[in-house]
Symmetry: C2
Subunit: 241 residues, 2 copies
DNA sequence: CTTTGAGTGTCGAGTCCTCGACAGTCTGCC
DNA sequence: GGCAGACTGTCGAGGACTCGACACTCAAAG
């Protein structure tokens, strides 16, 4: 699996960037930046998920967007040389390529393709957040739970997600007991199976049926804006086993 | 009252833009663009509010952001020559300056100040939407009602807002009966007074006390990113009568 | 092998908000 | 002046989610 932004760059740009791309292990729970931090590095996930969290004054943190191999963490802020406005937390184990913001900015000034990609990424991210505004106001916890599982599943390898119900409750901004009830119900339906800190996706189509439209809307947006993923993971394209 | 983006431009840029700035009346309820529309014009509100709405498949529309004299409608899409992703609806009567996207793009290519302002506007808007994600998940209807009233009050002249409870219910994504109850309660407290399709703000400090933190967070963000408003409207800066 | 702590199951009271329904009231228009 | 339509008031049943509490279970560390 590869990063869709890097994959879309012409070879000339890749040649200029690659000497500065550093392999970086995404360790679960690690914070990449806090609100107010200056952005010195950009992370291009290859596998794995990074959550962008909005912090509230009482310490609550809720996910505003999820970034995986379709994007990069810190992109707009790095280019504009600004500070971060959210907290970026590694959600699931994975790998990324790290790049210094200065190098990225250099290449950005001379590469129209990179500029286009940065813009496309920004638009996809904005559309994602915009959709979440509506989603959090209008959709049930079960719908949002399923949307979240699917988004996550798209961005990692395999069908097992390492996360606790408490963690997920924070992401969604609800009580743990509510997550427990929803998870239980989805397990009874055969959509997922979970153990301590681990969720297996058993039947993706059941999740898709129970998720709100927001999952598909955001996904189609990215597909429209960025070159196709190397390994498509939509159910429509999956072959029989 | 003036548009903060235009006010921050150097005189050379203003000279190039002003022949193409057209006075435009913001009429309540008018749609400036729909999702998917090509953006041919950008609107710089002088007084009044435009709501950016996210549309759902079932026809529901919910506000993702509010734009007034601190910003512009269609900015990022016009510069990048992309299509709109939300519906833009005029919320309250007002005036704006309209500018062709092509002209804006021309000046943008040569003016670093304009590029900075566009970036700042984008960051403010993104921060606004991000905050709303959390707000919609965590805050009560009364808190969000107050946040909305304050945001709106900042962007119009006078203390009277022309809007129905049904309209506001749509914006917040809740039932009208809930809005009625909240409005009633705030009127009893002496914060507002309302009649058919009209709300007077009686005691702004009561609204501020009942609003969630999101109002202040977003406002301070814009103040940090853009040059100060001509007519500050924060309670802190108000003088005694 | 035991202990410890993290993760999950469950319960129940209580609150917020939904959803549908209908009655009243104001405004503008004919 | 009266009518139609838009706007607001109110009610009540019901559902979704909160909030605090406590018991249980598993996994890893000692």
């Amino acid at each position: 699996m590869q990063n869709r932004l890097l994959a879309a760059l012409p070879s000339g740009d890749v040649a200029r960037l690659s000497p500065h791309l550093v392999q970086f292990e995404l360790e679960r729970g690690r914070t990449l930046h806090e609100p107010g931090d200056r952005i010195d590095h950009v992370y291009f996930p290859l596998v794995g998920v990074v959550s962008l969290m909005t912090l509230m004054e009482n310490g609550a943190a809720i996910e505003s967007a999820m970034i995986g191999p379709e994007g990069a963490v810190g992109l707009p802020a790095a280019i504009r040389q600004r500070t971060a406005i959210s907290r970026a937390v590694v959600q699931g184990k994975g790998r990324a390529l790290r790049l210094s913001a200065a190098i990225l900015h250099d290449v950005w000034t001379t590469s129209p393709t990179l500029r286009d990609l940065v813009d496309a990424h920004g638009e996809g991210l904005y559309a994602n957040v915009t959709q979440s505004v509506a989603c959090n106001a209008l959709h049930s916890v079960e719908e949002r739970f399923c949307r979240w599982m699917l988004s996550c599943h798209d961005r990692v390898e395999g069908d097992t997600l390492a996360l606790t119900q408490e963690y997920l409750a924070d992401m969604l901004g609800v009580q743990r007991t509510t997550v427990t009830a929803v998870a239980r119900s989805l397990q009874d339906k055969g959509a997922i199976r979970y153990r301590r800190g681990q969720v297996d996706i058993i039947d993706r189509s059941l999740l898709e049926a129970a998720a709100c439209e927001c999952y598909g809307v955001v996904r189609r947006n990215y597909d429209r804006l960025l070159p196709a993923a190397e390994r498509p993971v939509t159910s429509e394209t999956s072959a029989e086993p």
